[in-house]
Amino acid sequence: MTFNKTIIPRVMASILGQTREVLAAEAVIAVDGAETFDCDVTKLHLHDMTVIAGLGGPISLLIAFSFETSLVEALFHRVTADIEVPPGEEDLYRRETAAEIVNTILGLCTTDFQNIEESIALSPPVIIEDARCIHRPKNAVFASMRIRTERGIVSVSFVGPRDLFDDHMNYQF
């Protein structure tokens, strides 16, 4: 199916709503607000920890959640409160926490697209830990949104069509 950038505002709204729900349910963290940027974004900034996953089928977007360290730390402590984290594996569990939160948000977002007949595939999340700036190639659409929580910011970047980039946000010529 052809990529249609008009889907992006609907996906943004869905992600904002589900992020609010998941952070409240999983970590008792409140979302304070959000700013969205339109589809004219020319470059994306990824922070220290970014989780990338793809929504397939008719949506065809790569979505990157870039977390401030303070938010990852708060999520890690809340999400792992009732399980044992082996000594020395705290960093692994921090990454896994971020990945699981993103996976849950995106999975629940698919419930907001029930009118789409085709299945919306969700790729397993990939974590990258290098801060990076990605410039928009001419044939891509970039958009972004910043969600503010009481424990830090998560920036959400949207890149379409998703097959222009690999799962690590590298442009595929």
Binding site: I83, E84, N103, I105, L108, I116, S119, S123
Partner: protein, 123 residues
């Protein structure tokens, strides 16, 4: 009666949380798997009473793994445990042979209800 359970999910956090919940319900987790292929192998090896299956997993997704297990073991009781709530995906999972579907975040009541329904239907 305690059930022999396998948990298939690529998230360490989800596996550990489900393990705590299953043990809290009095069941015994006999194996875990982090890919679809591992899930099939674990099923063949342990023949559990119940398996929980994630949908998005590396190398082979949970839907394909469920189809493969049910083709080999038609009596298999597999419950999808996933955040993927699109109705189309729920239908596809049931078509693949899953006996139930639980949406994340998983709570003990939701899990317990689903297990009870699945076990009741298959006895």
């Amino acid at each position: 009666m305690p059930l022999k359970v396998i948990i298939a999910d690529d998230s360490i956090i989800t596996v550990k949380k489900l393990l705590v919940l299953m043990e809290g319900l009095g069941h015994q987790v006999v194996a875990t798997a982090s890919t679809g292929r591992e899930a099939i192998e674990a099923y063949r090896q342990h023949r559990p009473d119940l398996m929980t299956m994630d949908i998005s997993m590396p190398d082979m997704d949970g839907m394909e793994a469920t189809s493969a297990i049910v083709a080999e073991f038609p009596e298999a009781r597999i419950v999808m445990v996933t955040s993927h709530g699109q109705e189309r995906m729920v239908i596809d999972s049931l078509d693949a042979g899953a006996k139930g579907y639980v949406l994340k975040p998983v709570r003990i009541e939701k899990l317990s209800d689903m297990i009870a329904k699945v076990m009741e239907r298959s006895t």
